[in-house]
């Protein structure tokens, strides 16, 4: 439906008498929703009945409400639109809590509609009752319990507005079952938002000028960009690239920000932080001007706070005023939308700053020395597949495709971030802030629904993937040919790595003794299974995976004890990285063993 048509439809539906369930579906349509992810239950049956009788909004049935949430997150992150989930009361709502908090921490616009027991039963411990707005209050940007059907439409419109504007985030609209049955009037979408919610989008010009002045004098600058640039849209990403080109500054990015600046770009330093590259972290530590755009100085980024980039003046661009000075004191805060501010910066830089890129030459020389350290190197192996090698081959063999990557959480996630190059925004979906194991498979489903022709790969770990493996069934049902590429080392690899580093190599419960046969599992779900354990056969196996037009589980057996480096050990600063050649698997195990023995 085009815009004019939808406006006419909205006019026609204005102030009509409808049931609450009809209002929900109409409001979804008016907010441009084409797909929703959900799971039916007693308290949402009227809405499901309404969905059944129309074709405009397509419902994707998942197998667990958490899957619906992550699928909606993947959908949102890959399209820039709000993701929508629909779940029932009680357990439906409590199962939605994990994706809601995940979306809150990663600033993903997510609209969650929950059924609730009838208003007359609220508070009576009714069947499948829970205090949904109470439980979800701290894990949403805002939430509503709608007790009057006449307020339902306006509330849903407001929910979409709050979820998608300012710093995006999750919202919950809780609708009691009697409100879904009741008849009331439909209010069309209005542009005038409530007065108390007015996110600042335009940056203060004086602050932008101060930032440009600081940047123009910088001898050792670095741009540190984050997921906020991607949330600000593709135009913001273009402007970021333009700013990098104009200034000649090196750029690094957080896990959430990968793809905003292309990994193939000349000024790219790689990801920063705990498992970031040596050059990125050293540049952050030694820089004299830091330009942070849409990132929030997370503890996985900064390392030891009192040793974080000690000699730099810091510029921080963020749409959320509470992000400013939260963890790190900054010199020039600019509050607003990253895209608008980047536009001002690019214009101002062109107008005022003399782009003398040769002044940065010594800095680039230093960066090249750090780069030569080759911090992502690993020891190749002809007998077993190194996990890094598997990611590199996956990247090499999918470069000619429109490929979207999701991940679970753990070592495989970090290896994917390190070794898969992202050249475009919105193509990398991962759980950054909350670190939710089980995110990747349902997220891939959501991405595939949004982009049916694309190649969507969930780079998974054997432990994480089992947290939401049931969504394989949803993928088969909805003809979503997602590829689940499991780096199978039989361990919770990241847990084991920390046990090796911090807990005397006592591998407490981080080994999975009874691993399912993933090939048979794929076949049982009606998908396709592939197993590969030889480096020489990997390329052909990956090609086979790509060629199959249905969901595939790829059981990639990798070196069991490989660890993820480089790494900033906890309590250390950026310039105290543990590099792979200093931290071979044996060295880590042995060094800790001796220390561990002393401790015990």
């Amino acid at each position: 439906m085009n815009k004019a048509e939808s406006e006419r439809a909205a006019d026609a539906s204005a102030h009509q008498e409808m049931t609450g369930a009809e209002i929900v579906v109409q409001a979804l349509r008016d907010n441009g929703v084409e797909h929703i992810f959900g799971y039916p239950g007693g308290a949402v049956l009227p809405i499901y009945d309404e969905l059944f009788q129309q074709d405009n909004v397509r419902h994707i049935l998942v197998r667990h409400e958490q899957g619906a949430g992550h699928a909606a997150e993947g959908y949102a992150r890959s399209t820039g639109k709000a993701g929508v989930m629909l779940v029932t009361s009680g357990p439906g709502a409590t199962n939605a809590v994990t994706p809601l908090q995940d979306a809150l921490m990663d600033s993903i616009p997510l609209v969650c509609i929950t059924g609730q027991v009838p208003t007359t039963l609220i508070g009576s411990d009714a069947f499948q009752e829970c205090d949904t707005v109470g439980i979800t209050r701290p894990c949403t940007k805002h939430n509503w319990l709608v007790k009057d059907v006449n307020e339902l439409a306006a509330t849903i419109h407001e929910a979409f507005h709050v979820a998608t504007t300012g710093r995006p985030g999750p919202v919950v609209v809780d609708i009691p079952k009697d409100v879904q049955f009741a008849k009331g009037s439909y209010t069309p979408r209005q542009t005038a938002p409530r007065t108390s919610y007015q996110p600042q989008v335009q940056g203060e010009m004086e602050q932008v000028k101060a930032a440009i002045a600081l940047m123009a004098q910088a001898k050792k600058p670095v741009i540190y960009s984050g997921g906020g640039v991607i949330s600000a849209g593709t135009e913001a990403c273009h402007l970021l690239r333009e700013l990098v080109d104009l200034t000649g500054f090196p750029i690094t990015s957080t896990l959430m920000g990968l793809g905003a600046y292309p990994a193939s770009g000349a000024n790219w330093l790689g990801m920063l932080g705990m498992h970031g590259t040596y050059e990125a972290n050293m540049a952050m530590h030694d820089c004299d001007v830091m330009v942070c755009i849409g990132a929030r100085f997370d503890d996985r980024i900064t390392g030891r706070l009192d040793a974080f980039s000690p000699h730099s003046r810091k510029i921080h661009i963020d749409i959320d005023p509470s992000s400013i000075n939260k963890n790190v004191r900054v010199d020039v805060p600019i509050i607003g939308d990253a895209g608008r501010i980047l536009e001002d910066m690019v214009r101002l830089w062109r107008a005022t700053a003399k782009a003398d890129k040769s002044a940065l030459k010594p800095w680039w020389t230093q960066i090249d020395i750090w780069r030569a350290r080759d911090s992502l190197a690993y020891r190749p192996n002809d007998d077993v597949i190194m996990p890094q090698y598997a990611i590199q081959r996956l990247y090499a063999l999918t470069r000619d495709r429109d490929v979207y990557i999701t991940t679970e959480v753990g070592q495989h996630q970090m290896w994917a971030a390190q070794h898969f190059g992202f050249d475009a925004p919105n193509h990398w979906m991962t759980s950054g802030g909350l670190g939710t194991m089980g995110y990747g498979l349902p997220a891939a489903l959501g991405v595939q629904i949004a982009h049916p022709e694309a190649l969507v790969i969930d780079i998974a770990g054997d432990a994480s993937v089992q947290m939401t493996i049931q969504e394989m069934s949803a993928a088969v049902q909805h003809n979503a040919p997602i590829k689940i590429f499991i780096l199978n080392n039989q361990y919770m690899g990241m847990v084991r790595q920390w046990q090796q580093l911090l807990h005397g190599n006592r591998l407490s419960h981080s080994y999975t003794e009874a691993m399912p046969d993933f090939v048979k599992l794929a076949e049982a779900y009606g998908g396709h299974g592939i197993r590969c354990d030889k480096p020489g056969e990997l390329d052909d196996a990956i090609r086979e995976m790509i060629s199959i037009d249905k969901p595939v589980i790829f059981d990639c057996r990798v070196a069991a004890l490989a660890n993820c480096f480089p790494m900033i050990p906890s309590g250390k600063a950026h310039n105290e990285m543990l590099l792979p050649d200093e931290a071979s698997d044996e060295a880590v195990a042995n060094a800790i063993d001796e220390k561990g023995r002393q401790l015990v």
Binding site: V133, G134, R137, P138, K141, H142, N143, L145, V162, R194, T195, S196, Y197, Y278, D299, G303, R304, L305, D306, D320, P321, S322, I324, N325, K326, W498, L501, L502, H503, G504, P569, S570, G571, K572, N575, E576, M577, L578, L579, E582, A583, A587, V588, A591, I592, K595, G596, L599
Partner: protein, 190 residues
């Protein structure tokens, strides 16, 4: 680089808070809608901030606006965060740190008043003494029989604290306090 391979003890960086705490009075203007108070106080409990006193009432009926007065304490850094976090709540219109404004205007602190109801039970000398002291504190008797008084007292927090302290040995039964209501001196609004 060359970090020593040694157990560092934790997956997080644990530092000691060394800054000293300050006391602040915040005025928070919010839409008076269901759950708004839970959002505000939930922020305090969820993020580990302190509430020393809390006062809420609708102050502008036609606009459905409520004013929440919160007395809190924390380090300067935490208090700055707290203000921004409060402003982030969707139905919150404004957050004003009254203590900072008072300081900027050269005042010691904002005008702060509290009301308390104090019930005292007793006979004989204690009863006479309680009434005499209540007069000295300008407390009103709002209920009494031959065995008890209920006093209504208004004033600064310190005055109320003192009144309660001296009533304790005279037969204090119960106390109800409103929490602090505050605004700044001068003709300007919040």
């Amino acid at each position: 680089m060359n970090a020593q391979l040694q157990p560092t003890g934790s997956a997080y960086f644990i530092t000691k808070e060394t800054e000293s705490n300050e006391r602040r009075t915040l005025a928070v203007l919010v839409d008076n809608e269901p759950g708004v108070l839970a959002r505000v106080i939930g922020l305090f409990s969820g993020r580990g901030y302190n509430i020393d006193s809390l006062t809420v009432s609708e102050t502008e009926h036609e606009k459905h606006l409520s004013r929440i007065t919160i007395v809190t304490s924390g380090t300067a850094h935490i208090l700055e965060q707290l203000k921004h976090q409060l402003e982030r709540i969707v139905p919150v219109h404004r957050v004003v740190d009254l203590s900072i404004i008072a300081d900027q205007r050269g005042h010691d602190r904002p005008m702060e008043r509290e009301l308390a109801l104090v019930k005292v039970r007793g006979r004989g000398d204690n009863r006479v003494e309680a009434l005499r002291l209540a007069e000295a504190f300008r407390a009103q008797v709002i209920d009494a029989n031959t065995e008890h008084f209920i006093f209504e007292i208004t004033g600064r927090v310190s005055k109320i604290e003192q009144f309660i302290a001296i009533m304790t040995p005279l037969g204090l039964v119960e106390v109800c306090r409103t929490g602090v209501a505050a605004m700044n001196r001068g003709p300007e609004g919040m």
